[in-house]
C-alpha cells in the first residue's frame, strides 16, 4: 500500500466514536505576528509564532506552500518569516490559501500581537494601516467550503467572535471583549500546549483543537492565579455559529466545542496489519466498557468498581503492548 495514502492530513476531521475519519483534503496555516512595540514583546511574539510554524512543518508535515508566516520583521534563523505583515501581504496570503485549498480542507489563521479597537474596528497592530474585522470577514469569504479555524490571540480581541462566527468555523479569541486591553498570554500557552503535547488532556496521543484551547485557557488562569494577579483575559470559543462564545467548553451542556473536538492537530496513520486492526477494535470495546463502568459507579461497591476498573485498564494496556509489539515486528504502522 502506498504509504503516502495512509498518512492522514495534519489536521483531520474526526468523529468522537470511532475517533478518526479520513480527511477530505489538506490543511493550511497562516500565522500573523504584529508589531511588538518593545523587544520583550518582539521576542515573545516571534517565539510563539515561530514555534507554531515549526510544529506545522516538522510535526504536522504540512507542505511548504501551505504554511505562511507574516511577521513584524524578517528573522534570519529558521523558521523564516514569509513576508512583513501588512494589510496587502495578509490579503495576498488569504488569496494564496484560497487558491491553494480545496473545499473540505482546513484553513487555520492565527493572529499574535497587540490588539485594539472595538466591534467592527477591532484590529491587530501591524505595519501600515491595520486591517479591521470587515477585512478579515471579506478575506474569509474567499474560503467558502473550507473549515476555518480563526484564532485571534491579541489583546482586546473579544469583539471579533460574534462578527466572524459562522458555519464550519471555529473562532477563538483570547479575551471576551474589547475592554480587556492588557497584553495577553493566551498565545504562548496555546502554542506551548500544542508543541509539548501537554494539552493532550486524555493522553490518547491525538491532540484536538478543543484540548489545545482548553489547556491554554486553564494555563492562563493558573498563571494569573499563581502570580496573585487578577485575571484580565478571558478566552472564548465559538464553533456552532451562534455568535456567542463559550469560555469553559468542558462544562456539561456547553453550547460550543463539538466541531473543535473533532479537529485533531497532528498526524494520524492507519494500521496495515489486520491483527493490529483487530486489536485496535478490541481495545475500543474495552474503552467503551470503561465508559460504561464509570456510569455504573454509584451502583457498585467501591471495591468491586476498583477491581473491575483495574481489570479493564490492564486489558487495555496489554492490548496496547501487543499492538506495539506487532508494529515493531514490522506488521503495524506503515
Amino acid at each position: 500500500m502506498n504509504n503516502s495514502l495512509n498518512l492522514l492530513a495534519a489536521i483531520v476531521l474526526i468523529s468522537t466514536t470511532p475517533p478518526v475519519l479520513t480527511a477530505q483534503g489538506g490543511i493550511h496555516l497562516l500565522v500573523v505576528s504584529g508589531l511588538s512595540g518593545e523587544e520583550s514583546f518582539a521576542s515573545t511574539f516571534e517565539t510563539t509564532a515561530g514555534t507554531l510554524i515549526d510544529v506545522a512543518r516538522d510535526r504536522w508535515k504540512l507542505p511548504e506552500g501551505s504554511v505562511i508566516w507574516l511577521g513584524e520583521r524578517c528573522v534570519d534563523a529558521p523558521p523564516t518569516v514569509s513576508a512583513i505583515a501588512t494589510r496587502e501581504t495578509i490579503a495576498s496570503a488569504f488569496d494564496t490559501l484560497a487558491a491553494r485549498s480545496q473545499p473540505g480542507d482546513v484553513v487555520m489563521v492565527v493572529l499574535v500581537g497587540h490588539g485594539s479597537g472595538e466591534g467592527e474596528g477591532t484590529r491587530l497592530s501591524i505595519a501600515g494601516p491595520d486591517p479591521v474585522v470587515a477585512d478579515y470577514q471579506r478575506w474569509l469569504a474567499g474560503l467558502f467550503g473550507r473549515t476555518v479555524v480563526f484564532v485571534n490571540t491579541a489583546s482586546a480581541s473579544g469583539d471579533v467572535l460574534p462578527i466572524l462566527s459562522g458555519p464550519d468555523r471555529v473562532v477563538i479569541t483570547s479575551t471576551r471583549s474589547a475592554t480587556e486591553r492588557n497584553a495577553t498570554i493566551f498565545a504562548q500557552h496555546f502554542v506551548h500546549g500544542i508543541a509539548s503535547d501537554e494539552a493532550d488532556a486524555n493522553k490518547d496521543g491525538t491532540l484536538t483543537l478543543l484540548e489545545a484551547y482548553d489547556y491554554a485557557r486553564r494555563a492562563v488562569d493558573e498563571a494569573y492565579t499563581s502570580a496573585g494577579r487578577l485575571l484580565t483575559e478571558h478566552a472564548q470559543l465559538d464553533d456552532n455559529g451562534d455568535r456567542e462564545g463559550t469560555a469553559d467548553v468542558t462544562l456539561p451542556l456547553a453550547r460550543d466545542g463539538q466541531l473543535a473536538a473533532r479537529l485533531v492537530l497532528g498526524t494520524q496513520s492507519a494500521p496495515t496489519d489486520p491483527r493490529v486492526t483487530a486489536l485496535l477494535a478490541q481495545r475500543r470495546d474495552l474503552e467503551s466498557a470503561v465508559e460504561a463502568l464509570r456510569l455504573r459507579r454509584d451502583a457498585m461497591s467501591a471495591a468491586d468498581y476498583a477491581d473491575e476498573m483495574e481489570r479493564l485498564l490492564v486489558a487495555i494496556a496489554e492490548h496496547t503492548r501487543d499492538i506495539r509489539a506487532l508494529e515493531q515486528a514490522g506488521g503495524g504502522k506503515p
Binding site: G193, E198, A199, A201, N202, K203, D204, G205, Y215, R218, A219, E222, T225, S226, A227, G228, L286, E287, V290, R294, A306, M309, E310, L312, L313, V314, I316, A317, E318, T320, R321, R324
Partner: protein, 763 residues
C-alpha cells in the same frame, strides 16, 4: 421621680435657651450610667433629647452646645442603631457650623469617627482642631488613639503631647499607660495608670489598665485590689475585663484574653467589644466555630467594626479551604494549594517539631494548625483584623498563619524558614506560658532558622555593623522596644538580628539548658532581668558588656573598615567593580570585588561583594573561587534564589551532583512553585540513586501540575517504581488511567508495577 421629671422636661421643651451647663452635667451623668450598664435610664434620656432635636427641625435654632448634647445622645443610641451614628455626626457637624470658632463639635465628631474605626477622617478633624488650638489635650489624645488604632509607633509620643498640654487630663495618662504596657514597660505603665486614676477614679478602663499592669507583672494583690475597686464602682464591670482581655491579647496571652473577654460578655451580653475580643482570640487559639459565633454576636451589635467584618469575611473563605493532616499538624490552605503545601511543608514541620522538642525539652500540644493564605491581605486580616501588615507569618501558639507562595513575589521570601520560625514560637510561647518577651521569642526563632538550614534566618548586614559602629544598638534591657516600638522598618530588622545574636551568645556561653531555664523563668513570672540573672548568673549590665565585646570581636573587620571610612563600608569600590565587570575588565573586577569583600567577609547579600565576585570569577573561569563566593551568598542570604540556582549549575558542571542538589533544595524553598527547579532536583536525585528524594520532588510536582496533572502523576509513578514502591505506583497509575485509559506511558508502567508486585521484573 427626679429622673422622670428631667426626662419629661427634656422631652417636652426645646434645649435652646436652657443652660448648656445643665445639659453638660446631665449628658456626662448619663454617659457614666451607660458605661456602668445602667442603660435603661440613659437610653430614655437620649431618646428624649433626640426627640426634641427632631421636633426642633434637627435643632435648627439650637446653640452649638445644645447640638453637641444632641450629638452625644445620638451617639449613645448608636450602640444599637447604625443610623443614629450618622445623626450624631450630623449634629456635631451642625455644632461646628453654628460656631466656627469653637472646636468642641470637631472633637466630638472626630471621637465618633475614631470610635467607628475611621481613623483617617478622625485624624483630619483632630489636626483641624490643633490648627486652631495647638495645645488642645483632647486633640492630641485623639491623634494618639488613632495612631494606636493604626498600629503606628508614634502613639506614645502623641499621648505625651496630650499630657504635656494638660497634665490633669486623665484619659491621656491612661492611654500613655496602655501604650507603655504594650511596650512591656511595666513600671512606667503603672505610674501613668496610677496618675490617671488619681485624676479620675471612676473610669473602669483606668482600673482595668492598672489591673492589667498588675496581672502582667504577676502582682496578684494589686490585681485583686484593682478588680475590687472596679466592682465597687460598678457591680458588672464589663469594661474592666475588656481592658484586661485587650491587654492580654496584645501580650500574646490569647487563652487569657479569651477568659477575660468571656467574663466581660457574661457581665454585659450587649458589649460588642467583649464579644469581638472574645471571637478574635478564640480563633487565635483554634476554636474556630466558637470564634465565628462570638464575632457574629459582635458584628450584630457593631457593624462598623472593620476587624470583625473582615474576619467574618475571611471565615467565609476558610470554608473553601482544604486541610492536609500529618502526624502532628493540620495544614489549612486554599483548595488549589493545599496538597502542594502539605506535600512540601508537612515533612518540614514534622522535622522541625522533633528538632525543637529536643532543643527545648518540651512538646507543645498537637495538632498544631498552620493556615496559609494566597492573598497577603487575608493573612493580614487573620492576624490583626486589617490589611497592610508587613509580616510573613504569625504564631498564636499552636495556631500559626502565614503567606502562601501566591501571596508574595516569587524569590522575595523563604517559605521554609518562615514556617520554621513560626513553629519555634510555638515552643518558646508554650514553654514560657506565653510570657516570653518578644525579643527573646523572636531571637530564638531566628536562631532556630539558622540552625535548620544553611542560609536561613537573618544574617549580618551593613546596616547592623554600621549601627554597632555608631553605638546605636539597643541594650538588652531595651531590646524589646525594637519590636514593640521600632523607630521604623530598619530598626525592626536590626532588632530581629540583634535579638538572635543575644540568644546565640546565651546558648554559646551558658548552653541550651540556660535557654530552657530562661523560658521557664518567664513562665514562673520573672521579669526580664531576673529571668536572665536566673538563667545565666549574670546581670543585664554584665550581659550587655559581654555582648558588646563579642560583637566587636566578631565584626572586627567591618568595624575597622568603618573606622577608616565613616561614610560607607564599601565606598565606591562595589560600583567600580561592577563597571569593570560590565566593561569586560574581569581581572580588575575580581581585584575590586575582593577588596570590598575583605572589608566585610561574612556579608552574604546577593547584591554585595561576594555576589559580584562570584560572577567575575566565573567570567575568569575560576569555578573553585566562584563557588566559594557563591557559598558565602547562599549560606548567608535566605532569599538568594538566583545564586543558589547558579551554584547548582556550577556544581553540576563539576559533576558534584550532591552539592548541586543541596543548592537546588535551598532554591526550592525560595521559589517553591518553580517546576524547573523541582524537575531538576528529581532528575539529579534519580541519577545518584536517591529515589526517595526523587519521589518527594515528583510528588510536589504532581501537586503543582494544574494544567497537565496526568503526566506529572505518571512521572511520580515512575519514580515510585524506581524507589521500589510498586504498590503506590500502581495506585497512582490506576487513577491516571481511569481518567485517560489510552495513556500509553501509564499503561506500560502499570503492567510493570503489577509484574513487580507479582514478584516479576518488567512485563
Amino acid at each position: 421621680m427626679r429622673r422622670l421629671s428631667l426626662v419629661m422636661m427634656l422631652a417636652t421643651a426645646p434645649l435652646a435657651g436652657q443652660s448648656a451647663a445643665l445639659h453638660l452635667d446631665r449628658v456626662e451623668s448619663m454617659e457614666r450610667s451607660w458605661v456602668r450598664g445602667d442603660r435603661a435610664q440613659a437610653l430614655a434620656w437620649a431618646r428624649a433629647v433626640t426627640g426634641a432635636w427632631e421636633r426642633a427641625d434637627r435643632g435648627a435654632n439650637w446653640s452649638a452646645a445644645d447640638l453637641i448634647v444632641a450629638g452625644r445622645a445620638w451617639r449613645m443610641l448608636g450602640s444599637d442603631d447604625p443610623g443614629a451614628v450618622r445623626q450624631a455626626l450630623a449634629a456635631f457637624d451642625a455644632a461646628t457650623a453654628r460656631d466656627t470658632t469653637a472646636v468642641e463639635g470637631r472633637l466630638w465628631a472626630a471621637d465618633l469617627l475614631l470610635e467607628r474605626y475611621n481613623a483617617p477622617d478622625a485624624n483630619a478633624e483632630y489636626r483641624a482642631v490643633l490648627q486652631r488650638d495647638s495645645v488642645n489635650a483632647r486633640a492630641w489624645l485623639g491623634l494618639a488613639r488613632a495612631a494606636a488604632f493604626e498600629g503606628r509607633d508614634d502613639a506614645a509620643t502623641l499621648a505625651e503631647r496630650s499630657v504635656a498640654a494638660d497634665s490633669s487630663f486623665a484619659p491621656a495618662q491612661l492611654l500613655l499607660a496602655q501604650v507603655r504596657l504594650e511596650a512591656e514597660q511595666y513600671d512606667s505603665a503603672r505610674v501613668s495608670a496610677e496618675r490617671g486614676i488619681s485624676l479620675d477614679g471612676e473610669r473602669e478602663d483606668g482600673w482595668g489598665t492598672l489591673a492589667a499592669v498588675a496581672w502582667l507583672s504577676d502582682d496578684h494583690d494589686a490585681f485583686l485590689a484593682a478588680e475590687q475597686r472596679a466592682r465597687e464602682l460598678n457591680p458588672r464591670p464589663a469594661g474592666f475585663y475588656v481592658t484586661l482581655a485587650d491587654a492580654a491579647a496584645r501580650h500574646r496571652r490569647y487563652a487569657d484574653a479569651v477568659r477575660f473577654a468571656d467574663q466581660a460578655r457574661t457581665l454585659d451580653s450587649l458589649n460588642a467589644r467583649a464579644w469581638g475580643i472574645l471571637g478574635i482570640n478564640q480563633l487565635r487559639v483554634g476554636k474556630m466555630e466558637q470564634g465565628r459565633a462570638s464575632l457574629e454576636r459582635a458584628f450584630a451589635r457593631d457593624p462598623f467594626h472593620v476587624w470583625h467584618k473582615n474576619t467574618l469575611d475571611l471565615l467565609d473563605q476558610l470554608a473553601d479551604f482544604r486541610t492536609v493532616e500529618t502526624e502532628r499538624f493540620q495544614i489549612v490552605a486554599p483548595a488549589r494549594d493545599a496538597e502542594f503545601l502539605g506535600t512540601i511543608l508537612g515533612p518540614l514541620l514534622e522535622e522541625a517539631y522533633d528538632s525543637l522538642a529536643a532543643r527545648y525539652d518540651y512538646h507543645p500540644p498537637t495538632p498544631v494548625r498552620l493556615e496559609l493564605y494566597s492573598r497577603h491581605a487575608d493573612f493580614s486580616v487573620r492576624t490583626i483584623g486589617l490589611t497592610g501588615m508587613g509580616a510573613l507569618g504569625v504564631s498564636f501558639g499552636t495556631v500559626l498563619a502565614m503567606d502562601a507562595p501566591a501571596a508574595r513575589q516569587p524569590g522575595s521570601w523563604n517559605i521554609g524558614s518562615t514556617a520554621w520560625h513560626e513553629l519555634a514560637h510555638t515552643f518558646t510561647l508554650g514553654l514560657s506560658a506565653h510570657r516570653v518577651p518578644r525579643w527573646v521569642s523572636e531571637g530564638l526563632s531566628v536562631v532556630e532558622e539558622r540552625r535548620a538550614r544553611p542560609g536561613w534566618g537573618a544574617h549580618a548586614s551593613v546596616a547592623f555593623v554600621t549601627s554597632l559602629h555608631k553605638g546605636e544598638l539597643l541594650p538588652i534591657e531595651r531590646l524589646n522596644e525594637g519590636f514593640t516600638r521600632p523607630s521604623g522598618p530598619g530598626q525592626l530588622s536590626l532588632a530581629y538580628y540583634q535579638a538572635s545574636l543575644v540568644a546565640e551568645m546565651l546558648e554559646r556561653d551558658f548552653g541550651i539548658e540556660a535557654i530552657r531555664v530562661l523560658l521557664r523563668s518567664y513562665a514562673e513570672g520573672m521579669a526580664d532581668d531576673a529571668a536572665l540573672l536566673h538563667a545565666t548568673g549574670l546581670t543585664t549590665d554584665s550581659l550587655n558588656a559581654r555582648f558588646e565585646g563579642w560583637l566587636r570581636q566578631r565584626f572586627a573587620a567591618p568595624l575597622a573598615a568603618l573606622a577608616d571610612d565613616e561614610q560607607a563600608l564599601f565606598g565606591s569600590t562595589l560600583r567600580e567593580a561592577g563597571a569593570a565587570l560590565d566593561g569586560g575588565n574581569v581581572a580588575l573586577a575580581v581585584e575590586l570585588f575582593r577588596e570590598a569583600r575583605d572589608r566585610f567577609p561574612e556579608f552574604g547579600d546577593a547584591n554585595g561583594p561576594n555576589g559580584g565576585l562570584a560572577l567575575a570569577l566565573l567570567a575568569a573561569g575560576d569555578t573553585v573561587g566562584a563557588l566559594a563566593a557563591l557559598k558565602t551568598v547562599t549560606h548567608q542570604d535566605e532569599t538568594a534564589g538566583a545564586a543558589n540556582v547558579m551554584e547548582a549549575a556550577v556544581h553540576a558542571a563539576r559533576a558534584d551532583t550532591v552539592a548541586a542538589l543541596a543548592a537546588l533544595a535551598r532554591a526550592a524553598w525560595i521559589m517553591p512553585e518553580d517546576v524547573n527547579i523541582r524537575g531538576h532536583r528529581a532528575e539529579l536525585s534519580a541519577a545518584i540513586g536517591d529515589h526517595l528524594g526523587a519521589v518527594a520532588e515528583r510528588r510536589a510536582l504532581a501537586a503543582l501540575a494544574r494544567t497537565d496533572p496526568l503526566s506529572a502523576r505518571t512521572d511520580l509513578a515512575e519514580a515510585l517504581l524506581a524507589a521500589d514502591d510498586p504498590a503506590e505506583a500502581r495506585r497512582q497509575l490506576l487513577d491516571v488511567l481511569e481518567a485517560a485509559p489510552r495513556y500509553e506511558r501509564a499503561q506500560a508502567l502499570l503492567l510493570e508495577a503489577r509484574a513487580r508486585l507479582n514478584g516479576g521484573g518488567k512485563p
